[in-house]
Structures are given as C-alpha cells and as structure tokens.
Symmetry: C2
Subunit: 101 residues, 2 copies
C-alpha cells in the first residue's frame, strides 16, 4: 500500500464518529434495524440509518461516507433510492498489514 493512500485512510479513521461507524458495520445486524425494503444486510446499511444513529446531520454523514468510500474503506451499493454501505474487508486488511511490521 502507498503512503498517500494509507494517509487518506488514516484521516478517515481519525474521527470518533467515523471510527464508530466502522465498528457498527462490523456487525450491522447487531447495530441497525433490518431495512424495511431490503431485508438483508448483504450490502450493509443505508445512509439514513447510519445518520440517525450517529446523531450528526445528514450532510455531515453523507460527506463522511462519501470520503470513506473514496479512500476504499467502504463499499457503496445503490438499490433504488437507497445507498447501502458496507466495510471493504479486503482494503482494511491491506491497511492493517501496512501499519503492522
């Protein structure tokens, strides 16, 4: 992994709310209600649920999630009018190996 990419990932992980979101998404079914339309968590959780649980504004959370997707930490999938976010375990693994010896 390149230093610049790793720095961008670090920036996403340098904020308590964003780190908390990463934690919540480890086990979405333990932290969020099942979506009324989509009944599974295969693609993660919709923006609204994450926003409500965080307590921050819609625009702030949307920006967070967009940046987290841009640096690769999250994978976004559209289903109709909803965007679902899930962890990108592959990238997270690469990052954790990068900072490890």
């Amino acid at each position: 992994m390149e230093l610049k990419v790793a720095t961008e990932i670090g920036k996403c992980l340098s904020n308590q709310t964003r780190l908390q979101i990463m934690e919540w998404l480890k086990k979405p079914e333990n932290n969020f209600p099942p979506h009324e339309t989509l009944k599974h968590f295969n693609d993660g959780v919709c923006v609204t649920y994450i926003q409500e649980k965080s307590g921050l504004s819609q625009s702030t959370i949307s920006t967070y999630l967009t940046n987290m997707e841009k640096c690769g930490l999250l994978i976004s999938t559209r289903h109709g009018k909803w965007s679902y976010l899930k962890r990108n375990e592959q990238l997270i693994k690469e990052y954790s190996e990068y900072i490890l010896k």
Copy 2:
C-alpha cells in the same frame, strides 16, 4: 481497545510525515545512520535523526513524537541527552486487530 484510544491513534496516523516515521522505524538500520554514541538500534532512533530526515522543524517533530508516544504508538527511551524512539509493536498489533473484523 477503546474507541477513544483508537481515535487518538488514528489522528497520529492521519498525517503523511507521521505515517512515514512509523514506516522508517520498521527498519531503522535501513533508514538512519547508526548513532555515534549508542551503536545499536535497540531503542530506536534519536529525535535529531528523525527531524533531519523529515525536513520539518525541531519543534514540530518533537511535538509529533511526543504525541505519538502519548497515544502509545512509540516507546521513548532516554540515554543521556538523547531520546530514542521505537515502535510499540504490541500496541500497533492491538490497533490493527481493532480495525480488522
């Protein structure tokens, strides 16, 4: 690992120079000259060498290293008038496991 601690670690890793320092310290002998007084790298590298290699000011690097030690990423050892810094592999492992699934 607690969310707050992990956030502080993330802050340290959210800056290119600081992340670079973490990388340099993986193999100090590849990145720094051996110290004229202390001849080994057992306790890492002195502040001056890190400062010179980084190109930033003494005060900036001193602040960086102090914060990196405070959150546990680095271990500092005094030998006379020099402070030597090395990675805290144990803490780094805990952090990398925390962000992993």
